[in-house]
Point group: C2
Chain length 625, copies 2
Amino acid sequence: MSKYHRPDAQTIQSLKDIANKLRIHSIEATNASNSGHPSSCCSAAEVMSVLFFNTMRYTIKEPRHPNNDRFVLSKGHAAPILYAAWAETGLFPTSELLELRKLTSDLEGHPTPRLNFVDVATGSLGQGLSCAAGMAYTGKYFDKSDYRVYCLIGDGESAEGSIWEALAFSSRYQLDNLVAIFDINRLGQSEATSLGHDVDIYKARVEAFGWNTYVVDGHDVEELCKVFWEARQVTGRPTCILAKTFKGQGIPGVADAENWHGKPLGDKAKEAIAAIRENIANSGPHNLIAQQPTLDLSPVNTHVELSAAPSYKLGESVATRLAYGTALVKLGKANNRVVAMDGDTKNSTFAQKFKDAFPDRFIECYIAEQNLVGVGIGCATRDRTIPFISTFAAFFTRAFDQIRMGAISQTNANFVGSHAGVSIGEDGPSQMALEDLAMFRTIPGSTVFYPTDAVSTERAVELAANTKGVCFIRTSRPNVPVIYKNDEPFAVGKAKVVRSSPSDQVTVIGSCVTLYEAIKAADTLAESGINIRIIDPFTIKPIDAETIIANAQETNGKIITVEDHYAEGGIGEAVAGAVSGQSGIIVKRLYVPEVPRSGKCEELMEKYGISASCIVKAVNSILSI
Amino acid sequence: MSKYHRPDAQTIQSLKDIANKLRIHSIEATNASNSGHPSSCCSAAEVMSVLFFNTMRYTIKEPRHPNNDRFVLSKGHAAPILYAAWAETGLFPTSELLELRKLTSDLEGHPTPRLNFVDVATGSLGQGLSCAAGMAYTGKYFDKSDYRVYCLIGDGESAEGSIWEALAFSSRYQLDNLVAIFDINRLGQSEATSLGHDVDIYKARVEAFGWNTYVVDGHDVEELCKVFWEARQVTGRPTCILAKTFKGQGIPGVADAENWHGKPLGDKAKEAIAAIRENIANSGPHNLIAQQPTLDLSPVNTHVELSAAPSYKLGESVATRLAYGTALVKLGKANNRVVAMDGDTKNSTFAQKFKDAFPDRFIECYIAEQNLVGVGIGCATRDRTIPFISTFAAFFTRAFDQIRMGAISQTNANFVGSHAGVSIGEDGPSQMALEDLAMFRTIPGSTVFYPTDAVSTERAVELAANTKGVCFIRTSRPNVPVIYKNDEPFAVGKAKVVRSSPSDQVTVIGSCVTLYEAIKAADTLAESGINIRIIDPFTIKPIDAETIIANAQETNGKIITVEDHYAEGGIGEAVAGAVSGQSGIIVKRLYVPEVPRSGKCEELMEKYGISASCIVKAVNSILSI
């Protein structure tokens, strides 16, 4: 262990001065926008000053350089002080801080990666530490670099379970390059936090979760310099700094007072700024410059193709979830930046195949889906990896907020959810994904794949890896026949016409299990001289409106959708929405109408109206209109 | 503290015998269905035996009697042993256990309230303790009764952050009537759990979270009897029993072995059952009968009306979120079983008004939305309360899995989400609910209200309180004019035609902020002689298809929807879906097309295409078709 060198007195004074300047910037910016959280900024002023001007190593002019230390502001509502810190580094003029929250400025109410110094959007609380853990995991195990990750967490948000998932994860994987700082300012939005200033309880909890912890006076820059240095000496464990602070610190009448959450100071600002200025020794430019990291990391190649084409026989019976595992291994062979993670379902999702092939690039995240998703999003930052995140599709609902924030974070993380719909059978509704398509469709900029067979699944995996934004692939449990040739081309937003004749009277749209039911129905109907067209949409978002409309127009404007999910937000509404601007097209929908029971797949499809016999009935019904 | 009386030797032997009988039932049932989790049942056999035949007090013939002790099987995949325990009480014949997972049986793969001895569905892991905490809170503070709540948690699922939210909540509120049992059997689904058999770490963590804890041999019925008795003596703190167990305990070759998760024994069953039988002293009927509770609680009146009609002036400016608070107080006055809870946003959602009026019926759940929702669902069980759960609508995405499971649980809990859409302004996208309608629409049996003004909001609150299933009310941040008279009647699924003339050329559908924009657009268009009809849907699910179609047909089949949310799953797709069976109706949609920025409400509505001027353009455009 090297020896600690106390910063000289001038440095200490400069750090104090910067902290107070950050306070003033935060007060001025929130006053200019007449909204925002100056009091939540002020409690963190010394932490921010020490991190940005003493502890962290980064190149100011290239905030996203892969070697830079990372900083995640989990308490995103303190955005103004993050913006102020970067302005004080010289990245942009401090005068721009007054543009806070204006439509013309990227200095939004909460940080987003529209700013080049922000890796993940925050503002929905309790999410930052999982993303930071993903970055730290990437630094330690994939980049094998010495950059460190700092995450500032509010005490209020530490009530979120996701924080405790991330704490457990980080100690499990010995992320000694990760430092969490709890800004324990005692006050939440509407009242005091549950634990107030009882830092001993925080310490006991975080230590029990396996972290090296320090309790410090969060307004003492000397103490902060020292513990951040000490944290760097610790190996095998992440470090948590429990900083006892006061909300609104430095502002007379506001510090530690209730009812100042999220309120600009208004008329009180002038007096507050004057009081803070009194504590600034040198109001001119400071001489502190961030330490430089060693710049030895290069950008990663994030393009990847399957190392070998799909290799199936037509009619061979393969579950799409199994094809996912096969494809993921092929991607992993082609690009060593493909990584995968799962929440203790890898033997069901078949992420296991990737783990078997590339154990060093697989992260077991245990049964903690919010952290699973946050870690994946963290791994994806700065394009350091191409992550695939898998669990049962139903359980991604656990992380909807994280996925939603992932879109705001401009993440390229890929999500693969197995065990779709009633086709899973006996496990029952808790395990059935019946809202997953609706959920992932709402995500702005998302791409939603629902491949029908093993060939199209492999191509979906390849396309997802190379498609920007949130990608979701829905895989299914049962074995289903391969219907596409191994060299069949697939593209996002391009449907396949699976069965077609000039005399088709209805267009039926289905995916995977329901597509096979449609084929069975077509065979039955053909016996009585009725031909139907069958479309496999491949992606549910974007939905191939052009192909659907063109085929519908060739089949008397009649469409039937067959959906292994609930009524809302899935295939049927995607199709109804796509044709809603067209006069003369009608859509009849078959979907799961209620909470299903346990039972065999075939029985359930029959009971809930999405089997071949139900399609036959629906065709006869729509033909009678 | 009273003195502990050790059960006599015969009782101890009977408890052991019952545990082994439960094992045999679990093995036989899962073998009969060729699916399920016998090994996860076997680790919990002694805990179940002791709870059901020594510790818990309940009336066998009326499993949902309000005075009964409650039991929540958070590790829902161990359902067969729960079913076996009730069969052994005599509630139904043990032969029915062989119907496990059949479509014709309520003995599903995971427990649901289709069974009268199940209060909440489980199977998505980590959710049971929050529901149990809600039941315990209700018992202690609302029912003021002595019933106790027991929750059996798997060690794998204890990685879920929601468990830690619930642990923090339960100690915060001194739920000494709550007992959690961790079944620490070391093995997850795909590998060993993160902590394996390190019970000391579990103990340190749970104790740090404020619980009275015991580490026990989970297969020792004597030890279990004693700690459950001791737990009953503790006041001011909940108790956690950390039961060290072995997965598959009792089955030679399976106990503590990997790769036996979720696998029936098949051919090995016969030998396993024989081995277990050897440990049964008395294979005939046992003489143990559950203790009876005092039966002094009555059913609750769950019908409620506003204590006073809405009282606004037409044109008065009132935020719908404020009207929510006003209405909730009126409900609270009318029925003392109305309760409310919030996640530290009560001064924004206006649940604060309820807390001010009825502090004893408000639960502050802090920033932990998963537990917030779970507690609410727990409070709603056995119709003991009429709960209203509020936070920013965006943050309900954090609890999508809990809400999804709430539907399977047949909950009547009501959800109220404020700060809808871009109308919130400067806080930016992390705080904006843009997926909330889509999310709540997917929930089977749900009712989704989106009231436009204060009068309709008050009626939505009243209707939600009396409507079965999950109800969601979307409230908005800005002040908006009152447009309905105080005596205007509202009903679920009934839209209001807000503006109408015989010469209307287009029907425009909007809610709250977008409805007011539609009215402005109508005034502008009227100046150039174009009249439009305006519809306020009131409920987005069910959507009033009849009114919408009838009005569309009167306006040349032309509809425009104006949606303060993303494209998918909300108002527009609900309308498109509702009219998709009709030929000759077209729908043009205005919605938020991408992740919005921070900015002023009016600027954002203009930028993202849902303002009055955008509606004017859309009307002119659709008229040209």
